[in-house]
Symmetry: none
DNA sequence: TATGAATGAGGTTTCATTCAT
DNA sequence: GATGAATGAAACCTCATTCAT
């Protein structure tokens, strides 16, 4: 759980807040963002009342969960870049670090609602943009190095990774954690410069993956 | 719309049935399997009553939509195999023919509920199994031809294609149809025999992607 | 089925009408007057359309069933009186002739709705009144004969018989037909002049059991 | 309202629960077990939500009402037996104490649904069985005393009393409360040993009036 | 005329959110 | 501050009735 822009909270209140976000993250990832609020509360081990005191409505909870997840990913990405000077390898690692992203993916790829909530939250958007900026740097460097194919851009990579990481509930338990790693690996093979059968369409940039469409529920 | 096991319906009833399935397919794909039934009915241009007369509950509607979609995919696959003797190319085409699969993907990848409904419908399962069998044949042939990497199996390909085809709502309209084609292409590049950085884990077979987990709601 | 005030009907229409009344009688007796109209139609072996062509709404069906039943009872009563000169014995027989009354009882004792429908049907009311008049004659004669206790009147007897005849669904099949006969017999024993522990309250007359309260649903 | 097997409820919740049962009892007795839940809620002065929180569906409400009513009857019966050493007189009193039984009667005699619900509730069945056991004791004693006719058994008496107590909605207000007392009295006269014209059929025992028929709606 | 399909009003049930304890 | 009870709006589903075939 990362430091938030929330005032100062009493220790126990703080603890409750964290338990709720953790629970919401798990429940949202598992069963979607439409689960009954009672269920989130139960999972967090608090009463609904407490949940609502902390997050006045579902949207604000989704927002908090998203912000927290994006933030974690951002930290992670920063650390990786710092430690790995090779752009391609840094990119690979980031794409593989899956789990931290799972929640974001469920939130952004699967739920129209979550998407529009997130997109209208300047707080989260800032974090997200900074993350995309970092990846964008890696992408350009990797392409300059001749490691990454040229007909691709940051947006493509963001979408592809999220898809691969999304995971597939329908696989047997044993494979559920295995699969994402395999698919990221296949993708990486497909992304290498030397494999290039030219791609159809045109590169999707970082800017293009952030939308603000205020669409309906998912 | 494919011929169903339904008794015989009066012409108008038949027409309505088809309109409902078409509408449900669109709406489910667009907004998930939990949309209000009223909305499905409205989209189909019929009253709720009619919807319920034809499909006594949501599950039975999902089942019908799934069966129909699987069936379409199966026809498609058969036709492709017949016309394209080269296994790799046939596989590529099948993976690209996207749209027909979109609904199935939304249903199976995204909705726990749909999954468990489909898995308990022998009718649909049969169709699905036949489809996987055909793909399995192609996969083996393509591997024997040295076109497809060896450390992959039919299950992987099924999952990967569905992920890539799933499409991403958050992209701007213009890109929404473009993206899947690009990602399938990247994947195919990643799947070629010559690119093989060995993959982690082990191949996921056709059998493994069919589950019967009777899980909770999505 | 008795002759009705309905115009002249084609033979097959007539037949349908009768089948519907018979079916409705059975179904109403078995499951109450609120059964789905479809079920009445199905039992009668006709489509709902036909049912509605004959009886434009549920009320009119209830009315027809009630009239038919009352009428049957009336015929029966007349015949009994003609053949049995002894008032007490005639009364006993009438009270025992149960089955014909079953439907009326379900309709009048159990369903507020049926009651108010029947009570606002002059046609049926006439038949009912005539029946009560006949019974009233027997009651007075039996009392004059010293066979029937004095502190009782026709209304009491009507109510008591209907209660006893009502039958009890919850009894095992074998007893279901047995029970009414027993209870009528107990009642008759209780009604004999010689047993008289004086009754509380006052006699309930024939007039009092016909109400026109337009009450709510049952 | 009697003490229930419910965990422990907050004072206000407890109060609401009781109000709901009381209201349901009244409304069920008055208009049958199929009244809109909204109406039960309105009568109890709570929102539907509250009703559903306490009783997740109609069945569970019916069950609670039935249990409560049976329990009241049981208490009553125990008290009567304790205070009245003469079996016949105790039996008479029990049969007369009507009102407490009214609800049970409506529930068991009139509604197929209620019957099957009650019969599948071990909780209620236990209470009911204990009640029948007590009555059975009285019946045997009264017969040994030569006060009660011999060709009758507990089941008959249970059924007869419920019928007589059932009351008749169609009577004018003034008579509605009067009638049951009269009919119980007639019955008692019919049940006395000295009046015995032998009854048709055979005695219906206590065991026979408890059924488990899982029948359809009423 | 008979049929069974279509409609929509109304009852049922769930759950987000508010509020008393 | 935390809890869980109460509320009511909104979704679900059934069925009386109408109407095309």
């Amino acid at each position: 759980m990362t430091t938030e822009t929330t005032p100062r909270l009493r220790a126990d209140a703080r603890r409750n807040r964290d338990r709720i976000i953790t629970a919401a993250q798990a429940v949202f990832t598992e069963r979607g963002t439409e689960v009954p609020m009672e269920e989130v509360a139960r999972t967090a081990g608090v009463g609904v009342g407490t949940l609502y005191r902390r997050f006045p409505d579902r949207d604000s909870l989704i927002r908090a969960v998203a912000h927290d997840a994006f933030d974690t990913v951002l930290q992670d990405t920063r650390a990786t870049i710092e430690q790995e000077p090779d752009a391609w390898r840094a990119l690979s690692q980031i794409m593989h670090r899956g789990m931290a992203l799972r929640t974001v993916v469920r939130l952004t790829v699967l739920s129209t609602r979550a998407r529009s909530i997130i997109n209208s939250d300047p707080n989260t958007e800032a974090v997200n943009n900074e993350f995309l900026l970092l990846v964008d740097g890696l992408v350009r460097r990797a392409q300059a190095d001749g490691a990454l194919r040229d007909d691709i851009s940051t947006g493509d990579i963001a979408v592809l990774s999220s898809l691969a990481l999304q995971g597939v509930q329908s696989l047997p338990e044993e494979l559920r954690n295995l699969a994402p790693a395999r698919y990221i690996a296949v993708l990486l093979d497909g992304l290498r410069a030397q494999n290039s059968r030219p791609l159809p369409g045109r590169p999707i940039t970082a800017q293009e993956v952030v939308v603000r469409t205020p669409e309906r529920e998912d």
